[in-house]
Amino acid sequence: MTRPEFWQGNTACAEGALAAGCSFFGGYPITPSTEIAEHLAAKLPKKGGVFMQMEDEIASMASIIGASWAGARAMTATSGPGFSLMMENIGFAAMTETPCVVVNVQRGGPSTGQPTMSAQGDMMQVRFGSHGDYAVIALCPATVQEMYELTVKCFNLADKYRVPVFLMADETIGHMREKILIPDTVERVGRKPFVPGNPPFRAADPDLIPGFPQFGTGHHVHVTGLTHDERGYPAATSPQLHMDLVKRLVDKIENARDEMADYDVINPDAEQVFIAYGAPVRTVQQVMHDRKDPNIGFLRIRVVWPFPEKALAKFKNAKRFLIPEMNLGQIAREIERHVKVPVRSIPKLGGELHTPAELVRALEAQP
Protein backbone atom coordinates (compact mmCIF):
# COMPACT_ATOMS: atom_id res chain seq x y z
CA MET A 1 0.00 0.00 0.00
CA THR A 2 1.04 3.56 -0.61
CA ARG A 3 -0.34 6.93 0.41
CA PRO A 4 -0.07 10.11 -1.67
CA GLU A 5 1.58 13.28 -0.41
CA PHE A 6 2.36 16.63 -1.96
CA TRP A 7 5.89 17.17 -0.72
CA GLN A 8 8.96 19.19 -1.45
CA GLY A 9 11.99 17.15 -2.57
CA ASN A 10 13.91 18.04 0.58
CA THR A 11 11.01 16.89 2.76
CA ALA A 12 10.89 13.62 0.83
CA CYS A 13 14.63 13.15 1.44
CA ALA A 14 14.20 13.69 5.19
CA GLU A 15 11.20 11.36 5.31
CA GLY A 16 13.13 8.75 3.31
CA ALA A 17 15.91 8.96 5.89
CA LEU A 18 13.39 8.43 8.70
CA ALA A 19 11.86 5.45 6.88
CA ALA A 20 15.33 3.98 6.42
CA GLY A 21 15.95 4.17 10.15
CA CYS A 22 18.31 7.13 10.20
CA SER A 23 18.98 7.74 13.89
CA PHE A 24 21.58 10.51 13.75
CA PHE A 25 21.75 13.71 11.75
CA GLY A 26 24.65 16.09 12.23
CA GLY A 27 24.68 19.14 10.02
CA TYR A 28 24.95 22.83 9.40
CA PRO A 29 22.13 24.55 7.51
CA ILE A 30 22.82 25.84 4.02
CA THR A 31 20.55 26.82 1.13
CA PRO A 32 19.17 24.94 -0.78
CA SER A 33 19.41 21.94 1.57
CA THR A 34 18.20 23.54 4.81
CA GLU A 35 14.69 22.03 4.77
CA ILE A 36 16.24 18.58 5.23
CA ALA A 37 17.88 19.61 8.50
CA GLU A 38 14.79 21.57 9.54
CA HIS A 39 12.49 18.60 8.98
CA LEU A 40 14.77 16.16 10.79
CA ALA A 41 15.28 18.58 13.68
CA ALA A 42 11.52 18.43 14.23
CA LYS A 43 11.00 14.72 13.59
CA LEU A 44 14.16 12.79 14.53
CA PRO A 45 14.11 13.35 18.32
CA LYS A 46 10.48 12.21 18.46
CA LYS A 47 11.54 8.90 16.94
CA GLY A 48 14.34 8.41 19.48
CA GLY A 49 17.04 9.72 17.18
CA VAL A 50 19.54 12.53 17.63
CA PHE A 51 19.65 15.79 15.71
CA MET A 52 22.78 17.80 16.27
CA GLN A 53 23.52 21.17 14.70
CA MET A 54 27.30 21.32 14.41
CA GLU A 55 29.53 24.40 14.27
CA ASP A 56 30.40 23.85 10.62
CA GLU A 57 30.48 21.23 7.87
CA ILE A 58 33.88 19.87 8.88
CA ALA A 59 32.42 18.94 12.25
CA SER A 60 29.16 17.77 10.64
CA MET A 61 31.01 15.18 8.61
CA ALA A 62 33.06 14.16 11.65
CA SER A 63 29.89 13.77 13.71
CA ILE A 64 28.25 11.31 11.33
CA ILE A 65 31.44 9.25 11.16
CA GLY A 66 31.45 8.94 14.95
CA ALA A 67 27.73 8.20 15.10
CA SER A 68 28.13 5.52 12.45
CA TRP A 69 30.86 3.76 14.45
CA ALA A 70 28.49 3.83 17.42
CA GLY A 71 25.97 1.94 15.28
CA ALA A 72 23.72 4.72 14.01
CA ARG A 73 22.48 5.08 10.49
CA ALA A 74 23.93 8.57 10.13
CA MET A 75 23.40 11.37 7.63
CA THR A 76 24.27 14.96 6.90
CA ALA A 77 22.97 17.35 4.24
CA THR A 78 24.67 20.32 2.65
CA SER A 79 25.37 22.21 -0.57
CA GLY A 80 28.51 23.22 -2.48
CA PRO A 81 30.40 25.39 0.04
CA GLY A 82 29.67 22.94 2.87
CA PHE A 83 30.52 20.02 0.63
CA SER A 84 33.97 21.49 0.00
CA LEU A 85 34.55 21.70 3.76
CA MET A 86 33.50 18.07 4.18
CA MET A 87 36.09 16.75 1.75
CA GLU A 88 38.81 16.01 4.31
CA ASN A 89 36.53 13.89 6.48
CA ILE A 90 34.93 12.23 3.44
CA GLY A 91 38.39 10.85 2.69
CA PHE A 92 38.63 9.76 6.33
CA ALA A 93 35.27 7.95 6.00
CA ALA A 94 36.45 6.22 2.82
CA MET A 95 39.77 5.20 4.41
CA THR A 96 38.13 3.94 7.61
CA GLU A 97 35.27 2.26 5.70
CA THR A 98 32.60 4.12 7.62
CA PRO A 99 29.03 3.77 6.32
CA CYS A 100 27.36 7.19 6.12
CA VAL A 101 25.09 9.22 3.89
CA VAL A 102 25.88 12.72 2.62
CA VAL A 103 23.18 14.69 0.79
CA ASN A 104 24.37 17.49 -1.47
CA VAL A 105 21.54 19.63 -2.85
CA GLN A 106 23.66 21.25 -5.53
CA ARG A 107 23.62 25.00 -6.18
CA GLY A 108 25.62 27.23 -8.51
CA GLY A 109 29.35 27.38 -7.77
CA PRO A 110 32.27 27.84 -7.52
CA SER A 111 32.51 29.31 -4.03
CA THR A 112 29.29 30.71 -2.55
CA GLY A 113 28.09 31.23 -6.14
CA GLN A 114 24.30 31.08 -6.48
CA PRO A 115 22.76 29.94 -3.18
CA THR A 116 19.19 29.76 -4.46
CA MET A 117 19.80 28.44 -7.97
CA SER A 118 20.18 24.95 -9.34
CA ALA A 119 23.34 23.23 -10.60
CA GLN A 120 25.09 19.89 -11.00
CA GLY A 121 28.58 21.27 -10.68
CA ASP A 122 29.80 18.89 -7.96
CA MET A 123 29.61 15.64 -9.93
CA MET A 124 33.38 15.32 -10.29
CA GLN A 125 34.06 16.70 -6.83
CA VAL A 126 31.97 13.91 -5.30
CA ARG A 127 34.05 11.32 -7.18
CA PHE A 128 37.52 12.81 -6.74
CA GLY A 129 37.22 15.68 -4.24
CA SER A 130 39.20 14.27 -1.34
CA HIS A 131 42.88 13.50 -1.74
CA GLY A 132 44.30 10.13 -2.66
CA ASP A 133 42.69 7.27 -4.55
CA TYR A 134 39.35 5.99 -3.32
CA ALA A 135 35.90 5.15 -4.64
CA VAL A 136 32.44 6.17 -3.51
CA ILE A 137 28.83 5.75 -4.61
CA ALA A 138 26.72 8.67 -5.84
CA LEU A 139 23.00 8.72 -6.71
CA CYS A 140 21.04 11.42 -8.55
CA PRO A 141 17.27 11.82 -8.04
CA ALA A 142 15.11 13.31 -10.81
CA THR A 143 11.75 13.34 -9.01
CA VAL A 144 10.46 14.01 -5.50
CA GLN A 145 9.62 10.29 -5.40
CA GLU A 146 13.29 9.50 -6.03
CA MET A 147 14.39 11.95 -3.33
CA TYR A 148 12.62 9.54 -0.98
CA GLU A 149 13.52 6.22 -2.59
CA LEU A 150 17.15 6.98 -3.38
CA THR A 151 17.74 8.30 0.15
CA VAL A 152 16.64 4.90 1.45
CA LYS A 153 18.90 3.25 -1.10
CA CYS A 154 21.85 5.42 0.00
CA PHE A 155 21.61 4.03 3.53
CA ASN A 156 21.47 0.45 2.26
CA LEU A 157 24.44 0.89 -0.07
CA ALA A 158 26.44 2.64 2.66
CA ASP A 159 25.87 -0.20 5.12
CA LYS A 160 26.45 -2.93 2.56
CA TYR A 161 29.69 -1.56 1.09
CA ARG A 162 30.96 0.29 4.19
CA VAL A 163 31.48 3.50 2.27
CA PRO A 164 30.19 7.07 2.27
CA VAL A 165 27.26 7.27 -0.16
CA PHE A 166 26.12 10.54 -1.71
CA LEU A 167 22.68 11.72 -2.72
CA MET A 168 23.67 14.28 -5.35
CA ALA A 169 20.42 16.19 -5.67
CA ASP A 170 19.96 19.65 -7.16
CA GLU A 171 18.00 22.74 -6.15
CA THR A 172 15.38 22.04 -8.82
CA ILE A 173 14.31 18.71 -7.33
CA GLY A 174 15.10 19.69 -3.72
CA HIS A 175 12.75 22.67 -3.70
CA MET A 176 10.05 21.44 -6.06
CA ARG A 177 6.81 20.10 -4.63
CA GLU A 178 5.06 17.30 -6.45
CA LYS A 179 3.04 14.17 -5.97
CA ILE A 180 4.76 11.32 -4.18
CA LEU A 181 3.49 7.89 -3.15
CA ILE A 182 4.79 6.78 0.23
CA PRO A 183 5.19 3.03 0.72
CA ASP A 184 4.25 1.40 4.04
CA THR A 185 7.68 -0.14 4.44
CA VAL A 186 11.10 0.15 2.83
CA GLU A 187 13.84 -2.41 2.34
CA ARG A 188 16.71 -2.31 4.84
CA VAL A 189 20.07 -3.95 4.18
CA GLY A 190 22.29 -3.94 7.26
CA ARG A 191 26.03 -4.11 7.82
CA LYS A 192 27.98 -7.33 7.51
CA PRO A 193 28.36 -8.69 11.06
CA PHE A 194 31.80 -8.77 12.60
CA VAL A 195 33.20 -12.16 13.57
CA PRO A 196 34.69 -11.77 17.09
CA GLY A 197 38.36 -12.57 17.26
CA ASN A 198 39.03 -11.59 13.63
CA PRO A 199 41.27 -8.60 12.95
CA PRO A 200 38.75 -5.75 12.50
CA PHE A 201 39.91 -4.72 9.02
CA ARG A 202 40.37 -8.19 7.56
CA ALA A 203 38.32 -8.60 4.38
CA ALA A 204 38.42 -12.32 3.74
CA ASP A 205 35.28 -12.52 1.56
CA PRO A 206 35.35 -12.09 -2.25
CA ASP A 207 33.34 -8.86 -1.89
CA LEU A 208 36.37 -7.34 -0.10
CA ILE A 209 34.13 -5.88 2.64
CA PRO A 210 35.13 -6.47 6.27
CA GLY A 211 32.50 -7.12 8.96
CA PHE A 212 31.64 -4.07 11.04
CA PRO A 213 32.98 -4.10 14.62
CA GLN A 214 30.62 -1.55 16.10
CA PHE A 215 31.88 0.53 19.03
CA GLY A 216 30.43 -0.44 22.37
CA THR A 217 29.93 -4.09 21.51
CA GLY A 218 33.07 -5.39 23.18
CA HIS A 219 35.58 -5.29 20.34
CA HIS A 220 38.89 -3.49 20.55
CA VAL A 221 39.02 -1.41 17.42
CA HIS A 222 41.50 1.24 16.39
CA VAL A 223 40.18 3.51 13.63
CA THR A 224 42.73 5.66 11.83
CA GLY A 225 43.07 7.61 8.61
CA LEU A 226 46.67 6.49 8.39
CA THR A 227 47.39 3.50 6.21
CA HIS A 228 46.62 0.61 8.55
CA ASP A 229 47.08 -3.13 8.70
CA GLU A 230 44.14 -5.44 9.14
CA ARG A 231 44.30 -4.95 12.91
CA GLY A 232 43.67 -1.24 12.29
CA TYR A 233 47.12 -0.17 13.46
CA PRO A 234 49.13 2.43 11.50
CA ALA A 235 51.55 0.91 9.00
CA ALA A 236 52.18 3.95 6.90
CA THR A 237 55.57 3.08 5.48
CA SER A 238 54.82 -0.32 3.97
CA PRO A 239 54.46 0.16 0.19
CA GLN A 240 52.78 -3.23 -0.25
CA LEU A 241 50.31 -2.72 2.57
CA HIS A 242 49.34 0.71 1.31
CA MET A 243 48.82 -0.55 -2.24
CA ASP A 244 46.78 -3.52 -1.06
CA LEU A 245 44.58 -1.36 1.18
CA VAL A 246 43.86 1.38 -1.36
CA LYS A 247 43.29 -1.18 -4.13
CA ARG A 248 40.79 -2.98 -1.91
CA LEU A 249 38.94 0.25 -1.03
CA VAL A 250 38.57 1.00 -4.74
CA ASP A 251 37.91 -2.56 -5.90
CA LYS A 252 35.14 -3.28 -3.38
CA ILE A 253 33.16 -0.54 -5.15
CA GLU A 254 34.41 -0.95 -8.74
CA ASN A 255 33.88 -4.73 -8.71
CA ALA A 256 30.24 -4.18 -7.71
CA ARG A 257 29.63 -1.65 -10.51
CA ASP A 258 27.14 -3.90 -12.36
CA GLU A 259 25.44 -5.04 -9.18
CA MET A 260 24.61 -1.52 -8.09
CA ALA A 261 23.92 -0.09 -11.56
CA ASP A 262 20.52 1.63 -11.68
CA TYR A 263 19.36 3.07 -15.00
CA ASP A 264 16.57 2.96 -17.59
CA VAL A 265 17.16 2.27 -21.29
CA ILE A 266 14.50 3.74 -23.58
CA ASN A 267 14.51 3.11 -27.36
CA PRO A 268 17.77 1.11 -27.46
CA ASP A 269 17.73 0.99 -31.29
CA ALA A 270 17.85 4.78 -31.61
CA GLU A 271 20.65 6.65 -33.35
CA GLN A 272 20.39 9.86 -31.31
CA VAL A 273 20.67 9.11 -27.61
CA PHE A 274 20.19 11.46 -24.66
CA ILE A 275 21.90 10.61 -21.38
CA ALA A 276 20.80 12.44 -18.24
CA TYR A 277 20.73 12.28 -14.44
CA GLY A 278 19.02 14.56 -11.91
CA ALA A 279 16.74 17.41 -12.98
CA PRO A 280 17.63 17.42 -16.73
CA VAL A 281 16.00 13.95 -16.88
CA ARG A 282 12.69 15.79 -16.69
CA THR A 283 13.41 17.89 -19.77
CA VAL A 284 14.54 14.85 -21.77
CA GLN A 285 11.35 13.03 -20.72
CA GLN A 286 9.29 15.96 -22.02
CA VAL A 287 11.12 15.91 -25.38
CA MET A 288 10.70 12.12 -25.65
CA HIS A 289 6.99 12.50 -24.86
CA ASP A 290 6.45 15.35 -27.34
CA ARG A 291 8.43 13.86 -30.25
CA LYS A 292 7.39 10.20 -29.90
CA ASP A 293 10.33 9.34 -32.18
CA PRO A 294 11.80 5.82 -31.87
CA ASN A 295 15.04 7.17 -33.28
CA ILE A 296 15.59 9.20 -30.11
CA GLY A 297 16.95 7.07 -27.29
CA PHE A 298 17.36 7.87 -23.61
CA LEU A 299 19.65 6.52 -20.93
CA ARG A 300 18.40 7.75 -17.55
CA ILE A 301 21.00 7.17 -14.83
CA ARG A 302 20.27 7.03 -11.10
CA VAL A 303 23.59 5.64 -9.82
CA VAL A 304 26.13 7.92 -11.48
CA TRP A 305 29.19 6.68 -9.53
CA PRO A 306 30.40 4.04 -10.10
CA PHE A 307 29.54 5.00 -13.68
CA PRO A 308 27.42 2.29 -15.40
CA GLU A 309 29.60 2.09 -18.51
CA LYS A 310 28.00 -1.14 -19.75
CA ALA A 311 24.70 0.71 -20.19
CA LEU A 312 26.24 2.69 -23.05
CA ALA A 313 26.77 -0.47 -25.11
CA LYS A 314 23.02 -1.16 -25.05
CA PHE A 315 22.58 1.55 -27.68
CA LYS A 316 24.16 -0.44 -30.52
CA ASN A 317 23.00 1.91 -33.30
CA ALA A 318 23.95 5.11 -31.49
CA LYS A 319 25.49 7.66 -33.82
CA ARG A 320 25.62 10.41 -31.23
CA PHE A 321 25.16 10.84 -27.49
CA LEU A 322 23.67 14.12 -26.22
CA ILE A 323 24.34 14.97 -22.59
CA PRO A 324 22.39 17.84 -20.97
CA GLU A 325 23.95 18.76 -17.64
CA MET A 326 23.77 21.80 -15.36
CA ASN A 327 27.57 22.04 -15.48
CA LEU A 328 30.16 22.42 -18.22
CA GLY A 329 30.07 18.77 -19.27
CA GLN A 330 31.45 16.83 -16.30
CA ILE A 331 29.79 13.48 -16.98
CA ALA A 332 29.91 14.02 -20.77
CA ARG A 333 33.68 13.72 -20.43
CA GLU A 334 33.29 10.47 -18.50
CA ILE A 335 31.05 9.14 -21.28
CA GLU A 336 33.59 10.15 -23.95
CA ARG A 337 36.06 7.71 -22.37
CA HIS A 338 33.73 4.78 -23.06
CA VAL A 339 32.25 5.33 -26.53
CA LYS A 340 33.59 5.72 -30.06
CA VAL A 341 30.78 7.88 -31.49
CA PRO A 342 30.60 11.66 -30.95
CA VAL A 343 29.50 12.90 -27.53
CA ARG A 344 27.74 16.25 -27.60
CA SER A 345 27.70 18.03 -24.25
CA ILE A 346 24.72 20.36 -23.70
CA PRO A 347 25.98 22.41 -20.77
CA LYS A 348 23.84 24.94 -18.94
CA LEU A 349 25.00 27.25 -16.18
CA GLY A 350 23.09 30.01 -14.42
CA GLY A 351 20.72 28.03 -12.28
CA GLU A 352 17.84 27.25 -14.61
CA LEU A 353 16.88 23.84 -15.93
CA HIS A 354 17.29 23.15 -19.67
CA THR A 355 14.04 23.87 -21.53
CA PRO A 356 12.58 21.30 -23.94
CA ALA A 357 13.19 23.77 -26.80
CA GLU A 358 16.90 23.92 -25.96
CA LEU A 359 17.21 20.14 -26.16
CA VAL A 360 15.28 20.02 -29.43
CA ARG A 361 17.67 22.62 -30.88
CA ALA A 362 20.65 20.49 -29.83
CA LEU A 363 18.99 17.42 -31.31
CA GLU A 364 18.40 19.12 -34.64
CA ALA A 365 21.80 20.80 -34.84
CA GLN A 366 24.19 19.03 -37.18
CA PRO A 367 27.08 17.36 -35.43
Binding site: P4, E5, F6, T31, P32, T116, M117, E171, T172, H175, M176, R177, E178, K179, R282, T283, Q285, Q286, H289, E352, L353, T355, P356
Partner: protein, 176 residues
Protein backbone atom coordinates in the same frame (compact mmCIF):
# COMPACT_ATOMS: atom_id res chain seq x y z
CA UNK B 1 -5.90 18.99 -19.29
CA UNK B 2 -2.77 20.86 -18.25
CA UNK B 3 -2.94 24.20 -16.47
CA UNK B 4 0.00 26.41 -15.63
CA UNK B 5 -0.77 28.89 -12.85
CA UNK B 6 1.50 31.76 -11.84
CA UNK B 7 1.07 33.71 -8.58
CA UNK B 8 2.84 36.97 -7.89
CA UNK B 9 2.64 39.62 -5.20
CA UNK B 10 4.90 40.97 -2.50
CA UNK B 11 6.71 38.98 0.17
CA UNK B 12 4.38 38.29 3.10
CA UNK B 13 1.11 38.04 1.17
CA UNK B 14 1.28 34.25 1.08
CA UNK B 15 2.09 33.96 -2.62
CA UNK B 16 4.07 30.76 -2.19
CA UNK B 17 1.50 29.27 0.20
CA UNK B 18 -1.22 29.96 -2.38
CA UNK B 19 0.57 27.83 -4.98
CA UNK B 20 1.24 25.10 -2.41
CA UNK B 21 -2.43 25.01 -1.37
CA UNK B 22 -3.58 24.82 -4.99
CA UNK B 23 -1.13 22.01 -5.81
CA UNK B 24 -2.09 20.17 -2.66
CA UNK B 25 -5.78 20.43 -3.52
CA UNK B 26 -5.13 18.92 -6.95
CA UNK B 27 -2.91 16.06 -5.72
CA UNK B 28 -4.52 15.10 -2.42
CA UNK B 29 -8.20 15.67 -3.14
CA UNK B 30 -8.78 15.81 -6.91
CA UNK B 31 -6.49 12.85 -7.70
CA UNK B 32 -4.47 14.89 -10.19
CA UNK B 33 -0.79 15.61 -10.62
CA UNK B 34 0.85 18.90 -9.63
CA UNK B 35 4.33 20.38 -9.58
CA UNK B 36 4.98 23.58 -7.66
CA UNK B 37 8.08 25.73 -7.98
CA UNK B 38 9.02 29.20 -6.85
CA UNK B 39 11.58 31.91 -7.16
CA UNK B 40 13.93 31.63 -4.17
CA UNK B 41 15.74 34.90 -3.87
CA UNK B 42 16.21 37.91 -1.67
CA UNK B 43 13.04 39.31 -3.27
CA UNK B 44 11.05 36.75 -1.27
CA UNK B 45 11.25 39.28 1.59
CA UNK B 46 9.52 42.41 0.37
CA UNK B 47 9.93 42.90 -3.39
CA UNK B 48 8.08 40.79 -5.94
CA UNK B 49 7.49 37.21 -4.87
CA UNK B 50 6.51 34.58 -7.44
CA UNK B 51 5.44 30.97 -7.36
CA UNK B 52 3.97 28.66 -9.96
CA UNK B 53 2.11 25.41 -10.09
CA UNK B 54 1.34 23.02 -12.93
CA UNK B 55 -1.82 20.93 -12.60
CA UNK B 56 -2.35 18.03 -14.97
CA UNK B 57 -4.38 14.84 -15.32
CA UNK B 58 -1.19 13.10 -16.44
CA UNK B 59 2.21 12.79 -14.80
CA UNK B 60 4.20 16.02 -15.10
CA UNK B 61 7.51 15.64 -16.93
CA UNK B 62 9.11 19.07 -17.45
CA UNK B 63 8.20 20.67 -14.10
CA UNK B 64 8.75 24.36 -14.85
CA UNK B 65 6.01 26.69 -16.01
CA UNK B 66 6.80 27.99 -19.49
CA UNK B 67 3.57 29.70 -20.57
CA UNK B 68 1.00 30.25 -17.81
CA UNK B 69 -2.66 30.11 -18.81
CA UNK B 70 -3.76 31.45 -15.43
CA UNK B 71 -2.27 34.39 -13.50
CA UNK B 72 -3.03 35.56 -9.98
CA UNK B 73 -1.43 38.95 -9.44
CA UNK B 74 -1.55 40.71 -6.08
CA UNK B 75 0.88 43.65 -6.33
CA UNK B 76 1.79 46.32 -8.88
CA UNK B 77 5.44 45.28 -8.87
CA UNK B 78 4.39 41.65 -9.27
CA UNK B 79 2.31 42.67 -12.27
CA UNK B 80 5.18 44.51 -13.88
CA UNK B 81 7.70 41.75 -13.26
CA UNK B 82 5.62 38.60 -13.77
CA UNK B 83 2.20 39.58 -15.17
CA UNK B 84 2.74 42.11 -17.95
CA UNK B 85 3.77 39.36 -20.38
CA UNK B 86 0.34 37.67 -20.24
CA UNK B 87 -1.48 37.36 -23.59
CA UNK B 88 -4.72 35.74 -24.71
CA UNK B 89 -5.95 33.09 -24.20
CA UNK B 90 -4.57 33.40 -20.67
CA UNK B 91 -6.80 34.73 -17.92
CA UNK B 92 -5.57 36.92 -15.08
CA UNK B 93 -7.10 37.53 -11.67
CA UNK B 94 -5.83 40.82 -10.31
CA UNK B 95 -6.23 42.13 -6.79
CA UNK B 96 -7.85 45.39 -7.90
CA UNK B 97 -7.12 46.98 -4.51
CA UNK B 98 -3.38 46.85 -5.11
CA UNK B 99 -2.81 46.47 -8.86
CA UNK B 100 -3.47 49.50 -11.04
CA UNK B 101 -2.35 48.13 -14.40
CA UNK B 102 -4.49 45.80 -16.48
CA UNK B 103 -3.13 43.06 -18.75
CA UNK B 104 -3.60 42.59 -22.49
CA UNK B 105 -5.29 39.23 -21.85
CA UNK B 106 -8.72 38.60 -20.36
CA UNK B 107 -8.76 39.60 -16.69
CA UNK B 108 -11.03 39.62 -13.67
CA UNK B 109 -10.58 42.31 -11.04
CA UNK B 110 -11.07 41.02 -7.50
CA UNK B 111 -10.93 43.58 -4.69
CA UNK B 112 -9.42 40.90 -2.44
CA UNK B 113 -7.37 43.03 -0.06
CA UNK B 114 -10.20 45.59 0.42
CA UNK B 115 -12.80 42.87 0.99
CA UNK B 116 -10.53 40.94 3.35
CA UNK B 117 -9.97 44.10 5.36
CA UNK B 118 -13.56 45.40 5.35
CA UNK B 119 -15.61 42.20 5.48
CA UNK B 120 -13.28 39.91 7.44
CA UNK B 121 -11.25 42.59 9.29
CA UNK B 122 -8.03 40.75 8.33
CA UNK B 123 -6.18 41.64 5.12
CA UNK B 124 -3.79 38.72 5.77
CA UNK B 125 -6.36 36.36 4.18
CA UNK B 126 -6.47 38.27 0.87
CA UNK B 127 -4.54 35.43 -0.77
CA UNK B 128 -7.23 32.95 0.27
CA UNK B 129 -9.89 35.28 -1.17
CA UNK B 130 -7.92 35.21 -4.42
CA UNK B 131 -7.73 31.40 -4.32
CA UNK B 132 -11.51 31.18 -3.92
CA UNK B 133 -12.01 33.59 -6.82
CA UNK B 134 -9.52 31.62 -8.92
CA UNK B 135 -11.39 28.37 -8.41
CA UNK B 136 -14.79 29.98 -9.09
CA UNK B 137 -13.50 31.52 -12.32
CA UNK B 138 -11.40 28.65 -13.69
CA UNK B 139 -12.42 25.41 -11.90
CA UNK B 140 -8.77 24.41 -11.99
CA UNK B 141 -9.48 22.35 -8.84
CA UNK B 142 -12.81 21.55 -7.20
CA UNK B 143 -14.20 23.78 -4.46
CA UNK B 144 -14.22 20.83 -2.06
CA UNK B 145 -10.55 20.03 -2.75
CA UNK B 146 -9.59 23.68 -2.25
CA UNK B 147 -11.43 23.80 1.06
CA UNK B 148 -9.69 20.68 2.37
CA UNK B 149 -6.28 21.86 1.21
CA UNK B 150 -6.81 25.23 2.93
CA UNK B 151 -7.78 23.49 6.17
CA UNK B 152 -4.61 21.34 5.92
CA UNK B 153 -2.40 24.37 5.45
CA UNK B 154 -3.54 27.19 7.73
CA UNK B 155 -2.62 27.62 11.41
CA UNK B 156 -4.91 26.12 14.06
CA UNK B 157 -7.52 28.59 15.22
CA UNK B 158 -7.73 30.37 11.87
CA UNK B 159 -9.79 27.75 10.04
CA UNK B 160 -13.11 29.67 10.18
CA UNK B 161 -11.53 32.91 9.06
CA UNK B 162 -9.84 31.21 6.11
CA UNK B 163 -12.95 29.32 5.01
CA UNK B 164 -14.91 32.60 5.14
CA UNK B 165 -12.20 34.16 3.00
CA UNK B 166 -12.44 31.31 0.52
CA UNK B 167 -16.23 31.63 0.33
CA UNK B 168 -15.96 35.38 -0.16
CA UNK B 169 -13.55 34.69 -3.02
CA UNK B 170 -15.85 32.09 -4.55
CA UNK B 171 -18.61 34.74 -4.72
CA UNK B 172 -16.34 37.45 -6.09
CA UNK B 173 -14.92 35.14 -8.75
CA UNK B 174 -18.24 33.88 -10.12
CA UNK B 175 -18.66 35.17 -13.67
CA UNK B 176 -21.73 37.35 -14.26
Amino acid sequence: MRHEVRFSGFGGQGIILSAVILGRAAVMYDNKFAAQTQVYGPEARGGASMSQVIIDDEEILYPKVSDPDIYVIMSQEGFEKYGAVARDPAVMLVDSTLVHSRPECRYIGIPATREAKQTLKRDIVANIVMLGALVAATHVVSEEALKKAILDSVPKGTEDLNIKAMQLGLQLGKQP
